[in-house]
C-alpha cells in the first residue's frame, strides 16, 4: 500500500500555516488605513520671505500682517513656525484637500470652461472669516487635519495620471501654503500644466509677483468693500487686498476673475456693492468677470439665513448698471445668472447648470451670433 504524499495531520498543519500567513498578509494589507497626522513635521521647507531678528526672533513677510515670532511660535496663518530662528512651513507636502473638480467651482467662468482641475489645499489660513465655508480645514494647523503626504512631483504625476491639465489651489488660502504652491506651480509649468489659484489676496506684492509668474488664472475673493467689515469680520485690512488685486490685473499676465460671497446683513448693503462694482470697473476694467455667490450658513455665522436670491440678482443688476459686462451668480443652480452671455448681443454663449457646462457655443472664443470676441482663456 502506497503512502499518500502527506497524511491528514500534516495537511491540517500545512493548512493552518497557510491560513496564518494569509491572515498576517491580509491583515497587514487591510489594516493599512490612513496614517495619523504626523506630529513630527517631516515635510517642512524653509519660508522664502522673512527676516531674522536678534534673539532668534524672526519677522515673516509673506502677508501684510508681518508677524513677529519668537522661537517656537507660529504665524497667524498657523502654517509657518519659527524653529530656532528660522521660519519653516508646516504645510509643505501636507495637502488636506485633494479633489478633482470642475473649474467652474473655483469659480472661473472665462478660463477653459468645462475643464477639470486637481484642486489642493492645506490646513491654515491668514484670514479669520466668521463665515468661512471650509473652516474645518482652514482654521486648523496643517498637522491638525487629516492630510495626504504628497510632494510637488507626486502632485504633477497624479494630475497626469488623472489626465487633468490644470492644477488649482483652493478650498483654503494658498497664501498660507505659498511655498508648497509655488514649488508645484514651477513644476506644473515645466510639465505644461495650467495653474490657477483661488485666494483672498491678502498677500505682500513680492511673494505675490513671484508666485504669479507661474499662475495662469486667479480668482480673488473680494469679501466686502468696507475696512470695518474686513477688520471686524475677517480680522484683516481691505487696502492690501485691493492693492494685490490691482497688482494681479496690471502687473501679471494671469487671467483674473473676482468673487464676492454675499452675507446677509453683513456685506449686502447696496451702497457697498455699488461701491465695489464701481471700483472694479474703474480700477480693473469692465471685462473682469464678477461673481456674486450665495452664502450658506456655517461656522460662526450659522445663525444667519441663506442669501436671498433677490439680493444676488440685485447685486448682479448693480454690476451691470456700473458697466461690468460679465456678472454671474454663483452657488445657485439652476439660475440664468450662471450662463455666459455675449455682452454685445446677449446670446447665450455658455449654458451652465450649477458648475456643469451644458453647452459651450463659443466659436474660437467668439459669440456664435455676432462674432464678438469674449475676454478669457478658452482653450
Amino acid at each position: 500500500m502506497t503512502r499518500p504524499p502527506f497524511d491528514r495531520r500534516e495537511f491540517m498543519a500545512a493548512l493552518g500555516k497557510c491560513a496564518g500567513a494569509a491572515c498576517l498578509c491580509g491583515g497587514a494589507a487591510w489594516g493599512a488605513g490612513p496614517a495619523p497626522a504626523d506630529s513630527k513635521l517631516k515635510f517642512t521647507r524653509e519660508v522664502d520671505h522673512y527676516v531674522r531678528r536678534p534673539g532668534k526672533q524672526i519677522q515673516c513677510f509673506v502677508c501684510p500682517l508681518d508677524c513677529i515670532l519668537n522661537d517656537g511660535e507660529t504665524c497667524f496663518c498657523r502654517t509657518r513656525t519659527n524653529v530656532g530662528g528660522r521660519l519653516y512651513t508646516r504645510a509643505y507636502n501636507n495637502p488636506c484637500v485633494l479633489r478633482i473638480d470642475p473649474i467652474e467651482k473655483l469659480p472661473l467662468n472665462h478660463f477653459r470652461p468645462g475643464s477639470k482641475t486637481l484642486t489642493l489645499g492645506t490646513g491654515g489660513c491668514n484670514v479669520r472669516c466668521l463665515y468661512c465655508q471650509n473652516w474645518e480645514q482652514s482654521q486648523k494647523m496643517p498637522d491638525q487635519v487629516k492630510s495626504f503626504k504628497l510632494t510637488p512631483r507626486e502632485v504633477i504625476a497624479a494630475a497626469k495620471k488623472k489626465k487633468v491639465d490644470t492644477i488649482a489651489f483652493g478650498y483654503t488660502e494658498p497664501v498660507a501654503f505659498l511655498e508648497y504652491a509655488l514649488d508645484i506651480a514651477i513644476l506644473a509649468k515645466k510639465a505644461r500644466l495650467k495653474v490657477v489659484a483661488a485666494t483672498a489676496a491678502f498677500v505682500k506684492p513680492e511673494p505675490l509677483c513671484e508666485f504669479a509668474k507661474y499662475v495662469d488664472a486667479f480668482v480673488v475673493t473680494l469679501k466686502g468693500f468696507s475696512e470695518e467689515f474686513y477688520y471686524r469680520s475677517l480680522g484683516i485690512q481691505l487696502a492690501p487686498v485691493l492693492a494685490a488685486i490691482k497688482t494681479i490685473k496690471h502687473e501679471t499676465k494671469a487671467w483674473l476673475e473676482l468673487t464676492n460671497l454675499v452675507v446677509p446683513t453683513y456685506n449686502d448693503a447696496p451702497e457697498d456693492i455699488r461701491g465695489m462694482v464701481k471700483w472694479v470697473r474703474d480700477e480693473l476694467g469692465d471685462e473682469v468677470p464678477m461673481h456674486f455667490a450665495r452664502f450658506v450658513p456655517t461656522y460662526r455665522l450659522s445663525n444667519l439665513p441663506r442669501t436671498p436670491v433677490q439680493t444676488l440678482e440685485q447685486a448682479c443688476e448693480f454690476g451691470r448698471d456700473a458697466g461690468l459686462k460679465y456678472v454671474y451668480t454663483s452657488n445657485l443652480a439652476p439660475h440664468e445668472g450662471s450662463n455666459t452671455r455675449c455682452a454685445n448681443c446677449g446670446a447665450v454663449c455658455i449654458d451652465r447648470l450649477g458648475f456643469k457646462v451644458l453647452s459651450n457655443n463659443l466659436k474660437r472664443g467668439a459669440c456664435p451670433e455676432c462674432r464678438q470676441k469674449l475676454p478669457g482663456v478658452w482653450t
Partner: protein
C-alpha cells in the same frame, strides 16, 4: 304640435334646474366638507369591497374566518387612527412653520427642520408598521382562499361593456379597430408607467385589494351584511368610529386636520420646487401670463379635467409653452423632481443639481470599508446590500451575488490605493458602485414616451395646478419687492480674531514634537 314641443322643452329645463341646483350645491359641499368627502370615500370603498366579494364568491366558512381576521385588522385600524390623531396637531403646527420658512427661500432654522424631520419620520413609521401588519393579515387571508380565488385577485375584472354582444356592422368594426390601434400605440407608455408604479410599490410596499377593501372595517361590514354574519365587537366599534366618530375619536376634527396637513404638504412641495427652480421674475411673469391666458375662469384644471380630451389638449399646449420659458437646467431639475418634504441635496446643492445622484454615501462607505479587515468585509458588504434592498428593492440571488462581487472588487481596489490616490479616485469609485437609479430611469422613460405620444408630462403634473401658480405669484411679488436687509451693527456682532495683541498662535511648549534639524529643508537645499 309646435306648442307641445316647446312645453316639453320647458318642462325638461325646469326639471334640470330643479335637480341641477341642489346637485351643484352638493358638489360644492363635497369640496369643502370633510364629512362629505369621507362619506364619498367610504361609499367608494364599500363598492370596491362589494365587487371583490361578489367576484371571489366566498363560502360562508371563508367569510367567517375573514371576518375574524378583519376584527384583528379593525384593532390595528383604530390604533393607527389614534396614533395619527395624536401626531396631526403637532405636524400641522410644525409643518406650518416649515412652510413659512420655505416660502422665504433662505434655508431652514435648525430647530424647525429637526422637528419637521422627526415628526415626518414618526408618522411614516406609524404608517409603515400599520401597513406591515395589514400585509401580514392579508397573507393569512389569502391562505383561506382557493387557488382560483387567489388568481382572481391578480387579474383585472372585465368591464361590463365587454360583456355586451358585439355589433358586427362596419362602423363598429372600424371603431373597434381604431380603439385597438390606439391601445397598441399607447401600450409602451402604459407599460412604462406600470414599471414605474411597480418600482414605487417595491420601495413603499402597500396592501393589496384584500388588505385594502376586505380587511378594512367598511369592507368587512359589507361582508358581514352579505354573508349574514354578526359583526364582532372590535369591528363594530371601528365601523362606528370611522363612520361617525365617537367622543374618544372625533372623526370630523381628525379629518379636518388631515385635509389641512395634506394642503400644507402640497404647499411645501410647491415651495420646494419653486425654490429649486430659481425662476427669475421675468420667467414667473411669463408662466403666470401663459396660465391665465389658457385657463379660463370656468375651466378649472383638476386631474379629473385632464382626462377629457379638450382639457388634455389645452394642458398639453400650455405645457409646451411653459417648457419653452424654462432653461435647460430648470427642465432637468423638473425631470428629477419628486414631491418631498425636506428638499433633497440635488435640489439645493449647486454641485449636485442636475447630477444623476448624490454618491457621497458610497464615498463614505468605501472610506470605511477600505480600512476594514478582510474578515469583517463580507459582513459589511452584506449589511450594505440589505440597506440597499430597503431603498432600491430586493435583488434576486444571482443579482445580489453579482453586486456583492462588484462591491468587494471596488473595496479591494480602494484598499490597494494610497490615501492620496483614493482621495482623488473616490468619486469615480463611488459612482461605479452606486446602484442604478431605476426609478429615475423609469421616470425618464415615461417622460420620453409621453412627449412622443403628445401626452402631458411633469410640467403639467407639477406646475399647471392652481395651487402652484398661486404660490408662483407670491414668489413673483417677493422678487419684485426685493429684500430690506437691515445692516448688522458690526461692532456688536461676533468679532473675528485679529493680530492686535500679537500674531503668534499656539506657541509650542513641547520641543519634542518638533522635527530634528536634519529633517528640515533650508532655502539653499
Amino acid at each position: 304640435m309646435n306648442t307641445r314641443r316647446i312645453s316639453w322643452i320647458h318642462l325638461l329645463a325646469v326639471i334640470l334646474l330643479f335637480f341641477a341646483t341642489p346637485l351643484q350645491a352638493a358638489a360644492e359641499e363635497c369640496e369643502e366638507n370633510p364629512r362629505a368627502k369621507m362619506r364619498i370615500a367610504r361609499e367608494r370603498r364599500a363598492r370596491q369591497a362589494q365587487r371583490l366579494i361578489s367576484r371571489l364568491d366566498l363560502t360562508r366558512a371563508q367569510s367567517r374566518k375573514i371576518v375574524a381576521l378583519a376584527d384583528e385588522a379593525a384593532v390595528l385600524h383604530l390604533a393607527a387612527y389614534e396614533s395619527e390623531a395624536q401626531l396631526l396637531p403637532l405636524m400641522i403646527d410644525t409643518f406650518s412653520q416649515f412652510a413659512a420658512e420655505d416660502r422665504l427661500n433662505q434655508g431652514f432654522s435648525e430647530d424647525v427642520e429637526r422637528r419637521t424631520v422627526r415628526l415626518h419620520h414618526r408618522a411614516k413609521r406609524v404608517r409603515e408598521q400599520f401597513t406591515e401588519k395589514i400585509i401580514e393579515l392579508e397573507e393569512q387571508t389569502k391562505k383561506l382562499l382557493k387557488k382560483t380565488q387567489r388568481d382572481l385577485l391578480t387579474t383585472r375584472p372585465r368591464k361590463a361593456r365587454d360583456d355586451r354582444p358585439e355589433r358586427n356592422d362596419a362602423r363598429s368594426r372600424a371603431r373597434a379597430a381604431a380603439r385597438e390601434r390606439e391601445m397598441e400605440r399607447r401600450r409602451p407608455l402604459r407599460d412604462a408607467r406600470e414599471e414605474l408604479r411597480a418600482l414605487h410599490r417595491q420601495k413603499h410596499p402597500s396592501a393589496g385589494p384584500v388588505g385594502k377593501y376586505l380587511l378594512h372595517p367598511e369592507g368587512a361590514a359589507e361582508l358581514c351584511k352579505q354573508a349574514n354574519i354578526e359583526m364582532p365587537s372590535d369591528l363594530a366599534h371601528a365601523v362606528a368610529v370611522l363612520r361617525d366618530g365617537t367622543a374618544d375619536f372625533p372623526i370630523d376634527e381628525t379629518e379636518r386636520q388631515k385635509i389641512e396637513l395634506r394642503e400644507l404638504r402640497d404647499e411645501i412641495n410647491n415651495w420646494n420646487l419653486i425654490n429649486g427652480l430659481h425662476l427669475t421674475e421675468d420667467q414667473i411673469g411669463q408662466i403666470t401670463e401663459l396660465y391665465d391666458e389658457a385657463v379660463k375662469p370656468d375651466w378649472e384644471i383638476k386631474p379629473r379635467d385632464r382626462r377629457s380630451g379638450v382639457a388634455r389638449d389645452a394642458v398639453y399646449t400650455l405645457e409646451l409653452k411653459i417648457e419653452e420659458a424654462l432653461n435647460t437646467g430648470q427642465r432637468r431639475v423638473l425631470a428629477e423632481f419628486s414631491p418631498c418634504l425636506i428638499p433633497p441635496k440635488n435640489l439645493k446643492d449647486p454641485v449636485l443639481v442636475g447630477q444623476a445622484g448624490d454618491n457621497s454615501r458610497y464615498e463614505r462607505w468605501l472610506e470605511r470599508a477600505r480600512e476594514t479587515s478582510n474578515k469583517r468585509l463580507d459582513s459589511i458588504i452584506n449589511a450594505s446590500l440589505d440597506r440597499e434592498a430597503e431603498h432600491h428593492g430586493v435583488l434576486d440571488k444571482k443579482a445580489r451575488r453579482e453586486r456583492f462581487v462588484a462591491l468587494r472588487k471596488a473595496v479591494r481596489r480602494a484598499s490597494a490605493m494610497s490615501d492620496a490616490e483614493f482621495e482623488m479616485n473616490k468619486a469615480e469609485l463611488a459612482e461605479a458602485i452606486a446602484p442604478p437609479d431605476r426609478i429615475q430611469h423609469a421616470k425618464d422613460k415615461v417622460a420620453d414616451l409621453s412627449r412622443r405620444l403628445k401626452e402631458t408630462g411633469v410640467v403639467a403634473h407639477f406646475m399647471i395646478t392652481p395651487g402652484f401658480v398661486d404660490q408662483l405669484r407670491v414668489r413673483g411679488e417677493q422678487l419684485a419687492r426685493g429684500v430690506d436687509s437691515e445692516r448688522v451693527d458690526l461692532a456688536k456682532a461676533p468679532q473675528a480674531e485679529n493680530c492686535e495683541k500679537g500674531c503668534a498662535v499656539n506657541p509650542v511648549k513641547n520641543a519634542d514634537s518638533w522635527p530634528k534639524k536634519h529633517e528640515l529643508r533650508s532655502k539653499s537645499d
